[in-house]
C-alpha cells in the first residue's frame, strides 16, 4: 500500500474531530475525502502532511512510518484552499522555491519552471506578481508550485472552492488531466459530491469525524451503506418503514432499516382526483427537471429527463408515484 492511515484519532480540547480513521490509498490513485463542512477533512489532510499532529495512530508512507516526521521531511505536496502563493515573490520565484531548497541547479530550475508553466497554461505570466493573477490563474500557479517538485503524494484542500461555478467545472477537468499525466498519487478534500464523483478513483465519505463508506464513485452512488451516504452522495429519497408503507405502499421495512430510491427512479403521473401527493416546486434544469413533491410535511424529489415523454405539470397538481421495485434498496438507518 502506498499510503496507510492507521487508527488516527484527534481531539481539539474536548471536541473529537477524528475518530479512529483507517484508510489505505494505492499508488497513483486519485482518492477523495468527501464530507460536509466541519467534518474533519482538513484536519485529516493536515495530519497526513505533518502540519498537525494526531493524538494517536500512525501515518505510513511507502512502507515507512512518517508519523513523527516534520512536513519538510515528508515532502508531501499541498495545494491550499486559498492557494497560499507567496505575495513577496513573482510567479516563477514561487514555483522555483521548492527546487531551490532542494539545491537543484539554476539551469535545471529554469527548464523545469518553463516546462511546468506550459503545462498549466501560465507561460505568459512567468514574471507576473501574484496579485496580478486571476483566481483561476492563482489556482494553477499553486498547482504548478507543487507538481514541479515531482512529489510522490499531493494533498488538495478544496482547491477549486474559491472559483466561480463555470471556472470550477473547467478547472476540474484540467486538474484531472494534469494528475493523470503526472501519475501522482492524490488525496483530494472536498465537500462537493459532484466534484468527488467526477474526479476520483475512490472516495471516502466522512461525517462528524467518522468514515461512513469507502468505495468507487459508482459503488457509493449505487450502493450507499447508510442514509448519510445515500443523502449526501446520491441525494436519495429516504423513507422510514411507516413512510414507505404510507407513501409507496411497501411493507416489510425493518425497524433499523430505511428504504431509499434515487429521484430519477421515482416518476410521477398526474392524478385527476385529489391524492396525498402534491407538487410543491418545479425546478427546471435544462437537461432535466426536478419536482419537489409534498406529502404531509415530507418533501420527496423526483427527476424527469428532458428526453422522456411526460405530460405538463403545474404547481399544486396532484400526482401518483410510479417506480420499478428493483430500483428500491434497503439500507441501515
Amino acid at each position: 500500500m502506498f499510503l496507510e492511515i492507521k487508527n488516527i484519532q484527534k481531539k481539539f480540547s474536548e471536541q473529537t474531530v477524528l475518530e479512529n480513521i483507517n484508510l489505505e490509498i494505492k499508488k497513483g490513485e486519485f482518492f477523495s475525502l468527501l464530507g460536509p463542512s466541519g467534518c474533519g477533512k482538513t484536519t485529516l489532510l493536515r495530519i497526513i502532511s505533518g502540519l498537525e499532529s494526531s493524538d494517536s495512530g500512525k501515518i505510513i508512507l511507502e512502507g515507512k512510518d512518517v508519523t513523527s516526521l516534520t512536513p519538510q521531511q515528508r515532502k508531501v505536496g499541498i495545494v491550499f484552499q486559498n492557494y497560499a502563493l507567496f505575495p513577496n515573490m513573482n510567479v516563477s520565484k514561487n514555483i522555483a522555491y521548492g527546487l531551490e531548497i532542494n539545491k537543484v541547479s539554476k539551469d535545471e530550475i529554469n527548464i523545469k519552471v518553463t516546462d511546468v508553466l506550459k503545462k498549466v497554461n501560465l507561460s505568459h505570466k512567468v514574471n507576473a506578481s501574484v496579485s496580478e493573477l486571476s483566481g483561476g490563474e492563482q489556482q494553477r500557479a499553486s498547482l504548478a508550485r507543487v507538481i514541479v517538485n515531482e512529489p510522490n503524494l499531493i494533498l488538495f484542500d478544496e482547491p477549486l472552492s474559491n472559483l466561480d461555478y463555470a471556472l470550477r467545472l473547467e478547472a476540474r477537468g484540467e486538474l484531472k488531466r494534469l494528475q493523470r499525466e503526472a501519475g501522482i498519487t492524490s488525496v483530494y478534500v472536498t465537500h462537493d459530491q459532484g466534484e468527488a464523483l467526477a474526479l476520483s478513483d475512490r472516495i471516502a465519505v466522512m461525517n462528524k469525524g467518522v468514515i461512513q463508506q469507502v468505495g468507487s464513485p459508482e459503488e457509493l452512488y449505487n450502493n450507499p451503506v447508510n442514509s448519510f451516504v445515500a443523502e449526501f452522495v446520491g441525494h436519495y429519497n429516504i423513507f422510514s418503514g411507516s413512510e414507505a408503507e404510507e407513501i409507496l405502499g411497501i411493507t416489510d421495512v425493518g425497524n433499523d432499516e430505511a428504504l431509499i430510491i434515487l429521484p430519477e427512479n421515482l416518476k410521477i403521473n398526474k392524478s385527476e382526483t385529489q391524492t396525498a401527493l402534491k407538487i410543491k416546486e418545479i425546478l427546471y434544469n435544462g437537461s432535466y427537471t426536478e419536482f419537489i413533491i409534498e406529502h404531509k410535511n415530507k418533501e420527496i424529489k423526483s427527476i424527469s429527463f428532458s428526453n422522456e415523454k411526460i405530460s405538463h405539470f403545474n404547481i399544486d397538481d396532484y400526482v401518483n408515484f410510479e417506480f420499478n421495485t428493483t430500483k428500491i434498496k434497503l439500507i441501515k438507518r
Binding site: 502540519l51 519538510q72 505536496g77 491550499f80 522555491y97 517538485n149
Partner: protein, 546 residues
C-alpha cells in the same frame, strides 16, 4: 506541527524576557518600594490639599480635553466624509499637522503666537494701539494647546470608521424621511461610538500624562505631572514616588479599559461584510459660511508653525526692537550648525532616536513574533507587560528609571545609569515598545498562516521560512513602526527633562532652555527644523501604512 524552539529562538525569548522584567517590571517595583520606603505615612500626602488639588486639576483638564477634542474631531471627520470641501486634499493634510508637532514645539509656537509678547498681540497692538490680546496663560493656554494637540486622534479614528460605514444605511435612513441631523444622531453617532470611545480613553490618558503645556503655562496651577517634577527637583523623594504611583494607577486603569474596549470592538468590526462607499455625486454642498470656515480653520492650524517659521527668519532681538521692521535672515539657522553648544543636541537627539529605533526593533520583533505569530503559552501575559508602558506617563517612566538605576544592578550590568547617555534612549525604547509591537502584531496577524505551511511542505526549514517568507512580509510593518518610534523619540521632552545632563541635552531640552533665555530666533529655528523632520517621517509612515 510540533512547536519546539530552536536555540536561536530561546536566545531571543531570553532577551525579550530580560527586557520585560529588567526595564518594565523591575523599575515599577522599585517605584512601589520607594513609595513605601519610609513608611505608609508617605501616602498621607495623598490627602493633602496640594496633591488633591493637582489630581483634581489633572482630571478636570483631561475631561475638558476629551470632550472638546471629540466635538472638533468628529465634526471635522463628518464634514470631510459627507461634504464637498474646498481644497479638501490640502486641508486633510493640514488638519493632521498637530501630529507632526512635538509637544515642546507646539507649546513654544503657541507661546510665540498668542502670549502677551506674541506675534498676534503685536499685530493687534500695531493696529489698535492698545493691548487687546492678553492673559494667554493658565487654563486658557493649556486647554487651547490640548485641543490643538489631541483632536487629530478623534479625526483619524472617526474618519477610519466612516470608511467602514455602509452608505446604504444612510440612504435607507434618508429615504425613510429622516433629516440630516436625525440621521447623524440616530445612525452615525452610534456607529462611531466604539472608535470614538477608544479615542476618548487614549486622549484621557495622554492628557493626564501631558507635561509640556502645564509645565510652561501652568504658573501657580498644579497638575500631577508637574507636581511629580517639582517634588523631584526639590528632592522630596517620598512625595515623588507616591505621586508617581498614584498617577500610574489611574492611567493603568484606563489602559485596561482601553484593552477591554478594543477586543470587543475588533470582534464587531469583523462581522461586517462588504460595504457600499459613498459616491462623489452624493456629497452635500457647504453653505457660504462653511466654505469660508474650512480654509480659515486650516489657516489657524497652520498659524503656530508659520509663527515659528517667521520668528526663525528674523534677527535675534528684533522681537524687542521692532517686530516687523527688519529684513529676513538665515542667521538663526547658521548658528545652529556653527555653534558647538547648539549642534550637540542635534547629534544627541538623532543618535538617541536611532538607538531607540534599533532597541524597539530588537525587542519588539521577537516579542511580537512569540506573542502574535507563535502564540506561545503565556504570550498574552508577556504582551500585557510589553505594552504596559503605553499606560505609564513619561514623567513616571523617567522617575522609575532614576529610582532603579541610581546604583548598579543586574539589569544595568553593574553600572550606574542615571546621568549617562544610555538612560535616555533606554527611556525612549521603553516608552515606544508598545507602539512598535502594535504595528508588528497587526503585521504578523495579516500574514496568512498557510504561507508558512506551504513553505514547510515545500521542504523549507524554519529559519529559511522566516527569512524568505515571513521577514519580507513583515518589513513594511517594521518600517512604519520604526518611523513612529523615531517621531516620538526625536521630539521627546517629558522624560528627557528629568534624565538629561548638560552633555546629553536633546533638541527639545535645548528649545526649552533657549526659551527660558529669551533666545527667540534660536528656539524658533530649532523648533521649525524639528517640525520638518517629524513631518517628513510622518508622511513616510502614513504612506507606508496605506
Amino acid at each position: 506541527m510540533k512547536k519546539k524552539f530552536s536555540i536561536f529562538e530561546y536566545v531571543l525569548l531570553f532577551i525579550v524576557l530580560f527586557f520585560a522584567i529588567g526595564y518594565i517590571l523591575f523599575p515599577l517595583i522599585e517605584l512601589a518600594k520607594e513609595s513605601f520606603r519610609f513608611n505608609l505615612d508617605s501616602y498621607k500626602a495623598l490627602g493633602s490639599p496640594t496633591v488633591l488639588g493637582s489630581a483634581l486639576n489633572s482630571v478636570l483638564l483631561s475631561v475638558v480635553t476629551v470632550f472638546g477634542c471629540a466635538a472638533i474631531g468628529i465634526l471635522l471627520a463628518y464634514y470631510f466624509h459627507f461634504y464637498k470641501i474646498p481644497f479638501k486634499k490640502y486641508l486633510s493634510v493640514i488638519f493632521l499637522i498637530p501630529l507632526a508637532t512635538p509637544p515642546i514645539v507646539g507649546v513654544v509656537s503657541f507661546l510665540y503666537l498668542l502670549s502677551d509678547n506674541g506675534i498676534l498681540s503685536r499685530i493687534l497692538f500695531a493696529i489698535f494701539s492698545k493691548n487687546i490680546l492678553t492673559g494667554f496663560e493658565g487654563w486658557t493656554a493649556i486647554i487651547i494647546i490640548h485641543l490643538f494637540s489631541f483632536y487629530p486622534l478623534f479625526f483619524l479614528f472617526a474618519s477610519a470608521s466612516f470608511e467602514k460605514l455602509d452608505y446604504n444605511v444612510i440612504d435607507a435612513s434618508n429615504s425613510l424621511g429622516a433629516s440630516k441631523w436625525t440621521t447623524f444622531r440616530k445612525i452615525i453617532l452610534p456607529f462611531l461610538l466604539p472608535s470614538v470611545a477608544s479615542a476618548g480613553i487614549i486622549t484621557f490618558m495622554a492628557s493626564m500624562a501631558s507635561f509640556s503645556a502645564p509645565f510652561v503655562f501652568g504658573g501657580s496651577l498644579r497638575f500631577l505631572t508637574t507636581e511629580i517634577y517639582n517634588s523631584k527637583i526639590n528632592g522630596d523623594t517620598s512625595l515623588t514616588a507616591v505621586l508617581s504611583v498614584f498617577l500610574t494607577l489611574i492611567s493603568v486603569v484606563f489602559l485596561f479599559l482601553l484593552r477591554k474596549f478594543r477586543t470587543a470592538n475588533e470582534y464587531s468590526l469583523r462581522m461586517k461584510g462588504s460595504v457600499k462607499k459613498i459616491d462623489a455625486s452624493k456629497l452635500y454642498n457647504l453653505n457660504l459660511a462653511g466654505k469660508v470656515l474650512f480654509p480659515l480653520t486650516g489657516f489657524l492650524i497652520l498659524l503656530p508653525v508659520l509663527t515659528l517659521l517667521y520668528l526663525s527668519l528674523i534677527p535675534e532681538g528684533s522681537l524687542i526692537r521692532n517686530y516687523f521692521g527688519e529684513g529676513l535672515t538665515l542667521i538663526n539657522y547658521q548658528n545652529i550648525f556653527t555653534t558647538d553648544a547648539v549642534a550637540l543636541p542635534y547629534y544627541n537627539s538623532l543618535m538617541m532616536s536611532l538607538i531607540a529605533v534599533a532597541g524597539t526593533i530588537i525587542i519588539g520583533l521577537p516579542a511580537s513574533y512569540f506573542t502574535a505569530k507563535k502564540k506561545i503559552k503565556g504570550g498574552n501575559i508577556l504582551e500585557s507587560i510589553i505594552t504596559l508602558p503605553y499606560g505609564i506617563p513619561g514623567t513616571v517612566i523617567a522617575i522609575c528609571l532614576i529610582f532603579s538605576f541610581n546604583s548598579g544592578n543586574v539589569f544595568s550590568f553593574g553600572e550606574i545609569l542615571v546621568g549617562t547617555f544610555a538612560i535616555m534612549p533606554l527611556a525612549y525604547t521603553i516608552r515606544n515598545i508598545p507602539a512598535i509591537t502594535q504595528s508588528l502584531n497587526s503585521g504578523f496577524n495579516n500574514i496568512d498562516p498557510s504561507l508558512e505551511e506551504a513553505s514547510y511542505s515545500l521542504g523549507a526549514g524554519r529559519f529559511k521560512t522566516f527569512r524568505t517568507i515571513i521577514l519580507p512580509l513583515i518589513i513594511p510593518a517594521i518600517i512604519s513602526g520604526a518611523l513612529i518610534v523615531f517621531i516620538n523619540s526625536f521630539g521627546e521632552f517629558v522624560s528627557s527633562i528629568l534624565l538629561y545632563t548638560f552633555s546629553t541635552k536633546t533638541i527639545s531640552i535645548d528649545i526649552y532652555s533657549q526659551l527660558r533665555l529669551y533666545n527667540t530666533g534660536g528656539s524658533a529655528a530649532s523648533g521649525f527644523i524639528m517640525f520638518l523632520i517629524v513631518l517628513i517621517a510622518l508622511i513616510f509612515s502614513r504612506r507606508k501604512i496605506s
